[in-house]
Amino acid sequence: MIATIELVIDLLLAFCVVLTAAIVFTKDLLLAVVLAGAEGVLVATVFYLLLAPDIALVQVAAGVGISTAFFIVGLRKIGRREE
């Protein structure tokens, strides 16, 4: 069971690396924001699996709830496409 949880943590972190690369190299800023929200959910899951329930709570609230709101407000004012 313990080894399985470690394997799951490694897989989720690898997926986080892929998402980070996608966020950096995409041209569509709205897509980048959505992928950042997905990465927030995955990071919160890693926190949960690493036995940190306090941080999983605040990480989901921060990564999906509040930061996405700020990003979307910014995008609404500056436009969606990157040159």
Binding site: L13, A21, V24, I78
Partner: protein
Amino acid sequence: MMIATAGQLPYILVAIMASICIYAALFKSNLFKKMLAIFLLTDAVNLLFIIQGYRLGNSIPPIIPPGMDPSDFASIAVDPLAHYFVVTAVVIGLAEVATLTALIIYTYKHYGTIETKKIKELRG
């Protein structure tokens, strides 16, 4: 000579994630992209803290169950110090994101663009 073992694979993945974020924060031309990279860098550093405080084996969260002896608890629970640092760092990172968003909107109002290359041309 240090050789990575399987238990240190999370460190390596977090290092790759952090270096991608540092690259984007330094070399990307779009200010919004820079802000996203800084936000993700915060996540990577938080992950490093929590992974370092984790304890292999039959570990439990840092909340003492009723009736457990404190010395037993101290020998199996994970590190609460890392959790403390991360709880405050997440909220401060969010305040930072809000401030940067305000700055970016202000820049866009002033120059009409948020690409650093174009802003440089506009200044002459």
